[in-house]
Subunit: 334 residues, 2 copies
């Protein structure tokens, strides 16, 4: 059984106030002030996570906290923004007792500290299912936010990191006894499970995106569907055998080849998908290398009116059962 | 039965994009930019509302939308801030079908238009209960946000509007057949029900607060508990017979005198509670009159270490069963 849930004021004073940044008034006010440096624009983003939809209720509270903040940091990264602060909407159930809240706050503190994104305030309410609504703030040089839909035909499309690990991790959570899972080492299974639980926002890549990208977004709903959105003003051609895969994903794929669909459309990657003009590609790659983020060219934008194609190694188009992942595993179809 | 729920993209394109402000990229991006004018600070606030906790699922969708935005505008008003824009976290269930979403958007559009607070973005997710997480942005002259806990002993405490109507409206919703309800005219019952459904944020008062208030907050959890928070650095003395009541509340009170507890601690008022230095009181009253907002002096701050007292007309202290309202009517105690 869960222990007693702390009251709202104890919760804030004990667990959240230590994370408060300047302008947050120690979380004792209903609002906070943000000072936006002269010459900069504020970038705001909001991602909401619901128990049983975006995470499992039984996940470690520090992991849930990490994910709630990380997915918002990922949006800031894609926009080229430097993290500044966040608000936390905390819809809690009776299960969020003192120990749970302490674990949750420790997860928030770790990523908040690592990213420089400080807690500015929020709201704590009772809810029938744990619901986390984070609003994150960042800054870019005035007017320079990297848009989602920028770019011209011929621009190159890059993706950071490796794709599909988190979706395979979720598949492992949902069906741990699947034959392909049994065919993998425990170590590789752990890699995939961890990538689902602990997305790593690519904020280190933000300056390179600001300097070189014409368009960018983070990959949250599956690479194929998100590439559709990135290239929605134009056409695009993407090569499946260029998509960067981890060793663990390759092992899964060799055990069950049709997992390629999960990898490419499963979502939860929180990698960066971006559009780079051809004459910037080498310098962008070098800038990414310098901050330790792998970036891989997977395709190019094509003229408006052309298709958005995914090609197999033999050059033929691959079609997908569904192009994007709708987060709904626990509750309902979307 | 509910009709089909629109997909996320149809929902955004059809209902929310028409409300989008500049910098919101037509809601086609994962983030928005806010331009904060030179010499101003951004004020940010977040209030989260959950079905069955903060509103009834069967309320008109336009009313739910109004409330979700209004309670955030109320926080901006209390801070002296001018509304700028908002983000909407929309955790929806299957009940939010096309017709519901159209009604919801119309309610948002009305208050957004009236307040100048434009939609900047947000996130739409599936949730087991309708959950609305609004983050609102406003501006004040740099560094001038009105804090909650400002003020000195001897400063006067004012409240706007009338107190207790919304709490009585909620009581009517929960027990429509109570004898005190039957003793009232239908017209007065409607006034109370409407005050619960449609809080009127006091944004018109913001300039007067900026100019004259040393501290301010909005009354959302009950006047007595919120006055405790306002005066928490100091002591305070408040006079119950000075608390401004509507005709409808007076009628309820005459039918059932112990409703005074509901009136003073019930919450959902969304009026402004503020601290005004004595030498500013006349000019503050005049400034409020000019914008058509009733303000009433209900007490004064006292020296640190003294109590926070509520006095009956005979000068004796009144004690309350509970000083503040915890929003939890539908789901759980808090």
């Amino acid at each position: 059984m869960a222990g007693d849930a702390p009251g709202e004021f104890e919760l804030i004073a004990r667990h959240f106030a230590p994370l408060a940044g300047p302008g947050a008034f120690g979380l004792m006010d209903d609002a906070a002030t943000l000072a936006v440096p002269a010459g900069e624009s504020l970038v705001v983003t909001k991602d909401m996570l619901v128990e049983g939809v975006h995470f499992f209720a039984e996940d470690a509270p520090a992991s849930i906290a990490h994910k709630a903040l990380a997915v918002n940091l990922s949006d800031l990264a894609a926009k080229g923004a430097k993290p500044l602060g966040f608000l936390l909407g905390f819809g809690r159930t009776r299960a969020q007792d003192e120990a749970w809240c302490a674990g949750f706050a420790s997860g928030l503190a770790a990523l908040s500290g690592a990213s420089g994104c400080v807690l500015m305030g929020g709201d704590t309410v009772n809810a029938p299912a744990l619901t986390l609504s984070v609003t994150a703030f960042g800054t870019v040089p005035r007017g320079r936010m990297v848009p989602r839909q920028g770019g011209e035909p011929g621009d190159l499309v890059y993706v950071s990191g490796t794709i599909g690990d988190a979706a395979l991790g979720l598949a492992l959570r949902l069906a741990p006894d699947a034959p392909w899972a049994a065919a993998m080492t425990a170590e590789r299974r752990d890699v995939l499970l961890d990538r689902y639980l602990h997305p790593q926002p690519r904020n280190a890549l933000a300056p390179a995106l600001l300097a070189h990208a014409r368009g960018a977004m983070d990959v949250s709903d599956g690479l194929v569907g998100d590439a559709d959105k990135l290239a929605s003003r134009l056409g695009g051609r993407f090569e499946i055998d260029r998509v960067p895969l981890s060793e663990a994903a390759l092992a899964a794929l060799s055990a069950k080849p049709d997992l390629i669909e999960t990898i490419l459309t499963g979502g939860d990657d929180y990698e960066i998908l971006c559009v780079i003009p051809p004459d910037q590609s080498l310098i962008f790659e070098a800038a990414a290398r310098e901050v330790g983020v792998l970036v891989t060219r997977i395709g190019a934008l094509e003229a408006a009116g052309s298709m958005r194609l995914w090609c197999n190694p033999d050059g033929r188009e691959r079609r997908f059962t569904r192009r994007a992942y709708a987060h709904s595993f626990g509750t309902q179809e979307s």
